[in-house]
Symmetry: C2
C-alpha cells in the first residue's frame, strides 16, 4: 500500500529505531518522505546517513532540530549557536530543506520570559546568513504553552511569525504543528498571515486526560479532538504544498513495532488528513550530492 | 500576623475544609477576605453560609464558579443556564461582587472548538440581564490552553475580552489568573486593554515538571517561574484595586493543615506579590442583608 504522496514519517514517531531501521520501515510502508532527527543521523554518521537516504529514494522533509538558545550570552550560548550552525550544515548535506527550531525554555533560575524571547530572535539573527548560504530554511516551531517554561518560550504561531518576518522569505519560516496550535483562538488568522512562511506542516492529535509525562501526549490523527479538516484547509489556502509530517511522541506507540507504527500512521493520515489536502508537490528535496 | 489588606484566600486552596473550617482558617491567619466555592456553600446551606460569613467579618472576593455551557441547545444546556442563574443569585446573596465563569470544554465527541466558543458567548448573552439585575459581575476566566479540550475553550485573556466587551462594563469582565496567562506573549497588551474589565486577579505559580494530573500543578507564589512583579504592575496600571485571591490546586498543599496553608499563602503573598501592589480598596462587598 502506498502512502499519500505528501506524507512524511517523522523519525520521532518511531523513536527507538536507528536510521537504517527508520528508513526501512518508512520505505516498506510506502512512504516517499521521511523527517530526520539529528541524533540518529549522528549515530549513523553523516556521510553514511546521506548514502542510506540516497539509496532509499526518500525525500527528507525536515531535520529536527536546532534551537535551545534562550540563555544570556556566554560560553553556553556560544556553544548553542555553534551547534545550530552544525545543524544547518547537516540539514543542507542531507537535502533537508528545513531545519526545525525549538526555542528553548527559561534559563535555570530565570523568570524573564520576555528577555528569553528576545534572545531567541537574536540567535536567529546570528544564524540567518548561514542558513541563507546553505539554502536551508530555519523553521520556528511554536510549542504548546504547557511547555513554555521548560522547552519553548515561543508558544503561538503569531509569535513565531513576529520573529520569522524580521528576516527574508525563504530564510526564516514557521512550523504549523496541529498538536501545538489547535487551541489557539487566532489560529486561522495566523495561518493566513503566514502564507509562504509555512515551511512545515505537522499533524498529530490531542486528547485528554494527558499522560503523566505531558511530552508524550500525542496521538494518531483522528484519535483525538483536533479538527484536521479546517486546519488542513487553512494551511492549503495559505499556499503550503510541501510534505506533511506525522510526528508523535507517545510511549505506547514507541513500544509498538516500527512496521505497525508506519502502517497505522499512513492509514490514520489517509482517513483524517488526506481528504483535506491536495496531492501537492513535496518540498523535501532529494539529497544533493 | 495580619495578611495584606487585599489578599483573599480562595477556598479551593484548602479544598478539604468545609465552610466553617475555611472561614476559621482564613480569619485566624489574619485575612480580611475569602473567595468562596459553590459546593461548600451548598454543603452548609446558603442561609447559614451567609450568616457565618457575616459573623466572620470577611469580605467575599468572588464566588467560584459558573460556566460550563459549551454544549448545543437542548436539555443539558438549559440545565446549565438555569444552574448559572442560581449561581448568580447565590453570589448576590453572599455579597460576592463577582461570579467566576469557566467556559467548559468540547462537548463529548465534538471537534468544533470554534462552535463551542460561540456557544459560550451566547450563554453569557442569556445571563447578562440576570447578572446586571443582581449586581453581580460575570467574570470570564481564560484557562491555560492545556485545558482547552476538557475544561475551557476560552484560553487567552484577549479571547475572554472579545466576549466580555460585547456586554456592558460592570456586567461582564475577565479574571487574570497568573497560572493560566503567564506564558501569553500578548499578556501585557491584553491586561492594558482590559482596564476596568478586570474583575478578579488571582495569583499562584507555575513550575515544571508538571504533576501527573495537570489540574493540580499550581504552587505558592514564588515557588515557580512566574514574574509577579511585572504582571502585578500591569494589573495595577490597568486600574484594578480589588482583592487578590490565591487559588492553588495542589495535592500536597491540600493535604497540609488548613492553618499551615493559610499562613504559608499569606507569607508567600507578602514576599512575592505584595511589594508590587498597592494597599488598594478591596472590591469584595460586605454581605448584603
Amino acid at each position: 500500500m502506498t502512502a499519500h504522496p505528501r506524507l512524511s514519517l517523522n523519525q520521532a514517531t518511531i523513536k527507538y529505531a536507528d536510521l537504517s531501521e527508520a528508513i526501512a520501515a518508512t520505505v516498506d510502508a510506502g512512504y516517499s518522505s521521511i523527517g530526520l532527527w539529528r541524533e540518529p543521523v549522528q549515530g549513523r554518521g553523516l556521510g553514511r546517513s546521506i548514502r542510506e537516504i540516497e539509496d532509499s529514494g526518500l525525500r527528507v522533509s525536515s531535520l529536527c532540530r536546532g534551537g535551545f538558545f534562550t540563555m544570556a550570552d556566554g560560553p553556553e550560548r556560544r556553544s548553542s549557536i555553534d551547534d545550530n550552525r552544525r545543524a544547518i550544515a547537516e540539514a543542507s548535506a542531507l537535502g533537508a530543506p528545513t531545519l526545525v527550531l525549538v526555542a528553548g525554555g527559561l534559563p535555570a533560575g530565570s523568570k524573564d520570559i520576555v528577555g528569553a524571547r528576545e534572545r531567541v530572535r537574536d540567535a536567529i539573527g546570528e544564524l540567518a546568513d548561514d542558513a541563507a548560504a546553505a539554502g536551508v530554511t530555519l523553521a520556528i516551531e511554536p510549542l504548546h504553552p504547557m511547555y513554555a517554561s521548560d522547552r519553548a518560550v515561543v508558544s503561538t504561531l503569531g509569535q513565531a511569525l513576529d520573529i520569522a518576518e524580521q528576516f527574508p522569505l525563504g530564510v526564516t519560516a514557521v512550523v504549523v504543528d496541529t498538536f501545538h496550535v489547535w487551541w489557539d483562538p487566532q489560529l486561522f488568522e495566523q495561518i493566513a498571515r503566514a502564507g509562504g512562511r509555512i515551511a512545515s506542516y505537522q499533524v498529530c492529535d490531542w486528547s485528554t486526560p494527558l499522560p503523566a509525562d505531558v511530552l508524550l501526549a500525542r496521538h494518531y490523527p483522528g484519535d483525538g479532538v483536533i479538527d484536521f479538516a479546517s486546519i488542513s484547509a487553512a494551511v492549503e489556502a495559505a499556499g503550503y504544498t510541501g510534505d506533511i509530517e506525522v510526528e508523535i511522541f507517545n510511549k505506547e506507540i514507541w513500544e509498538d513495532t516500527y512496521a505497525n507504527v508506519a502502517a497505522r500512521t499512513r492509514d490514520a493520515f489517509a482517513a483524517a488528513v488526506a481528504p483535506h489536502v491536495s496531492a501537492g508537490a513535496g518540498t523535501g528535496a532529494l539529497v544533493r550530492l
